[in-house]
Symmetry: C2
Subunit: 123 residues, 2 copies
């Protein structure tokens, strides 16, 4: 039961509040820069400077995104000397990232489940 996501009740479309929360949190993964930041942190905690170099962004930009991720409780930062070491907030975030990658690979490539494929707007 490392996953959850099985005994969940699925009311009609859940309330707008939940939708808002989901949307807000998922938006953290909605930009390449943040995805790469999180991916780097999933590998191992590191400082802002390392992060900036790892993802190829300016320190300021990284700091801004880190603030956003902090407010969403996706990462935590701990001051160490004059540096701040950031890390994923907990294992949930890492799993979320992995699942996102997993689904993207399966959704955007072919699909094991040939749904009727009715072409209603396949461009």
């Amino acid at each position: 039961m490392s996953h959850g996501v099985q005994g969940r009740k699925s009311p009609a479309s859940f309330d707008g509040e939940t939708a808002r929360q989901v949307a807000q949190t998922m938006q953290a993964l909605a930009t390449p820069s943040r995805v790469r930041i999180l991916a780097r942190l999933k590998e191992a905690p590191c400082s802002v400077g390392e992060l900036a170099e790892a993802v190829g962004m300016e320190q300021s930009a990284v700091s801004h995104q880190l603030r956003l991720l902090r407010h969403l409780d996706l990462v935590v930062g701990e001051r160490s000397g004059r540096r701040t070491i950031y890390a994923l907030h907990d294992s949930h975030v890492g799993v979320l990232l992995e699942e996102a990658v997993y689904h993207v690979e399966h959704i955007r490539l072919g699909f094991p489940e040939p749904v009727r494929a009715t072409r209603a707007g396949s461009r």
Copy 2:
């Protein structure tokens, strides 16, 4: 092995192309309107009109979002008479949504894993 997400290689921060794909796909869940649309479709396929009423949006707005979701291969639409019945593209999408909700509930509430909680920028 219905899930995957366990034997995955995790290179440093994966390549920017993957990050872009993940970000683009996750952006489908980055707005309350689309989350609610997907949630409604996960419950059961339905027409654009029903969808619009279910999520409280104008038909046009729903149609625009559906186009976006179609291009991301998250939903499919099948013409039935003069209506178009939309449905999730496959079970992956439903699972992705469930996992998103699951993680949000666990991340944004308390957290089972008391990470050091060092308050680096808790405002």
